[in-house]
């Protein structure tokens, strides 16, 4: 019983830290609200889909960044799609880097694009680790009433 309570407390703290540290925004809460008895793991599922689906986009951007000269329209287009997905899961920092990248595309700033891309990848990885750890503990803790989850 004690262990369960500890786990629940840990889940609450980990979740709070996702917001406090700016990893996720309100969209994450929106996704949580879509969870119910028939879809209890929706957030984890959608995050998993996101990482799976965006891998190829990131790879395409990487390849496009190796071209010379850079095709800024293509880069902007690819990043726009990736930004959209990131926004849909509430990935706040990742989305911010995507926006920066987009601005560098508009400005034709290749160096800026490369820097943004590297930063984006770091945020993308960091978020993944945070979320994986969070989901793991959440699964261990089991279902909690929403009151103890509230912000």
């Amino acid at each position: 019983m004690e262990k369960k309570q500890q786990l629940h407390r840990q889940v609450v703290m980990m979740r709070q830290s996702l917001f406090d540290q700016g990893y996720v925004d309100d969209q994450f809460v929106q996704l949580e609200e879509l969870q119910d008895d028939t879809n209890p793991n929706f957030v984890e599922e959608i995050v998993t889909l996101y990482y799976r689906d965006s891998a190829r986009l990131i790879s395409s951007i990487e390849q496009a960044l190796e071209r010379s000269p850079l095709d800024f329209d293509k880069l902007d287009n690819l990043m726009h799609q990736f930004r959209g997905s990131s926004s849909s899961i509430g990935a706040r920092k990742v989305k911010a880097e995507c926006t920066q990248f987009g601005e560098h595309c508009v400005g034709g700033n290749g160096e800026g694009c490369m820097r943004s891309f590297q930063r984006m990848k770091r945020e993308y990885s960091a978020l993944r680790k945070k979320l994986e750890a969070y989901f793991q503990v959440a699964r261990q803790a089991g279902p909690m009433d929403t009151a103890s989850r509230s912000n």
């Binding site: 929106q30 609200e33 879509l34 119910d36 959608i46 889909l49 959209g84 926004s87 849909s88 899961i89």
Partner: protein, 196 residues
């Protein structure tokens, strides 16, 4: 075909609102599908405007609707992303509004960018609303409520006139046809976001 037949308290059949969602982004399709189903809507989600038109019964040349003996599912609303390869959401909107068979279907356009020219273009073409992505549960709820209110109007009128005949108080205020669009004053949602 399992349209989720349900019955209200009066024993009348209540059909689920059927929304056709169009988005080329895989994650967004999953989210909108869940959003719609969470809101007790029947959701059909496709990845292109072309596919959407096919489902709506437009023939291959996209010229007119062929009635496949009424086997098309009745779509109550279309929610489409603006930026899509091939046929954009705007083009899909235009096709729907230019079709005599489909023009009554409300079309909501979603976009990650609130570009004023884009919004105006869509609203001028007859879009129901222009929503900033990500779409929220409250957006879907509002769209659904607007739809139901519009659909219920003819029924309300006949119930009201029946009630008047019986001299009973009718609490529902049924508005006239001119107020069917409740969104003309502020078609863009997520009001605190700046429009570029």
């Amino acid at each position: 075909m399992g349209w989720g037949e349900r019955y209200d308290d009066a024993g009348e059949e209540v059909r689920e609102v059927h929304v056709l969602a169009v988005d080329d982004n895989f994650v967004d399709r999953k989210v909108i599908e869940r959003l719609l189903r969470s809101s007790a809507c029947k959701a059909t989600v496709v990845e292109s405007g072309r596919r959407a038109l096919q489902l709506l019964g437009m023939d291959e040349e996209m010229k007119g609707c062929c009635d496949l003996h009424g086997s098309q599912p009745k779509v109550d609303m279309v929610i489409t992303d603006y930026c899509m390869p091939g046929m954009t959401g705007y083009e899909l909107l235009k096709r729907i509004k230019e079709s005599s068979a489909l023009r009554e279907i409300p079309v909501v356009v979603t976009s990650s960018e609130g570009i004023v020219a884009r919004i105006n273009r869509c609203m001028d073409q007859g879009a129901e609303e222009f929503l900033l992505k990500p779409v929220k549960l409250s957006d879907v709820k509002r769209l659904k409520d607007n739809m139901k209110r519009r659909e219920a109007q003819p029924r309300k009128e006949s119930r009201a006139s029946a009630a008047r005949k019986r001299n009973l108080e009718d609490e529902d205020s049924f508005a006239g046809p001119s107020s069917s669009s409740s969104t003309t004053s502020s078609p863009v949602s997520h009001g605190d976001r700046p429009l570029i």
